[in-house]
Symmetry: C2
Amino acid sequence: MDTPGPSDLHDAVRRRLAEDDVRYTGGRKAIVAALGTAGGPQSAADLHRLVAGVPLSSLYRSLTVLDEAGVLKRNHDADGLARFELAEWLGGHHHHITCVECGAVEDVRLEGEEERLLAAVIQAMGDRTGYIVRDHELELEGACPSCRS
Amino acid sequence: MDTPGPSDLHDAVRRRLAEDDVRYTGGRKAIVAALGTAGGPQSAADLHRLVAGVPLSSLYRSLTVLDEAGVLKRNHDADGLARFELAEWLGGHHHHITCVECGAVEDVRLEGEEERLLAAVIQAMGDRTGYIVRDHELELEGACPSCRS
DNA sequence: TTCCTTGCAAACGATTTGCATTGGA
DNA sequence: TCCAATGCAAATCGTTTGCAAGGAA
C-alpha cells in the first residue's frame, strides 16, 4: 500500500494542512500521533485521555479542523458517540468490528479477494438503488475474544 | 420470508409487548405503523412529525420501551442522530444507503447470492479477529438519483 | 504586526428523567 | 383498584461557540 509510515505521517499531514493555511501545532500533532497508533476509532474522551493537557474545547476544535482538512474521518459508534480515525489516504481502507460487551471498536482490513467479493455486492446495491456509490463501510458486531465468558 | 405483513404487524408487536407486561397504546401503535411504511430508518424528529400530537418526551420514552422489547432497532446516521427502524424479525434483513447530498437514508435488500458473498467476507473478518459475529451492517453512501445534478 | 490558535465559560441540541396526573385492564 | 403510560418542565451530556489572551511566521 501507499499509506505513509509513522515517520512520514506527520509530514504528509503538515503538507495537507499547509495548503489550507492551517498550522500543525503540538496539540494537533499529538492527536494525529494518537490516532496513528490506535487500533480503532477513538472518541473525544479517549483522545482527551491520550493527549494530556489539552482542554476538551480545544480538542474538539482541532478535530474539526483536521476533519475539514481531510486528515481524519468522523464516525459514530453504536451509542451515537463521535469517534475519530485517520482518513483513508493516511490510515488505509478498513472496516470495523464492535464488541457488544465492552464496546471496543477494532479495525479489520480485508484481503484482496474479500474486498473483491464485497465490491460485487456493493455494485449490485448501487445498481438497484440508482445511487452513485462513493464510499462503503462494513460494520460487524459480536463478542470479542476477551469478553466471551 | 416470514416477516409479518402490515395487517399482522400490530398483532406480532402486541404479543411481544404483552410478554413484558407492556401496553400497546395508541402512541406506540402509531410509531410502529409509521416505521412499518417508512422506506428507511426515521429520526425522533421525523417520527414527531409523522406521529402528530405526541410530545417528544413521550415519543422518546415509547421508543426506549419498544427498543428494549426488541420491537425496533436504534441506529445512528452520519451526523450521530438516532434513527429508528423495525427490528429485523419484523422488518426483514436489509442494509442502508445514505445520500451525501440530502441525507436521506434508504433500505436496500440483498438477493440470496449477494448476501451469500457478503456472508463469506464476514466469516473471514470474524476468523481473523477472533470475534463471534452476531450481526452485520453494510452502509453505503453516495449520490441519490434525484441529487446528482 | 497579522492571523491562527488556545482556554475558559457560556450556549446548544438531542435525549433523558423527576414527579404528579391520567387511563386502561 | 393498581400499575403502566403520559405530559410538562428541568436536568444531562456530548459538542459547539463567543470572546479575550497567547503565539508563530
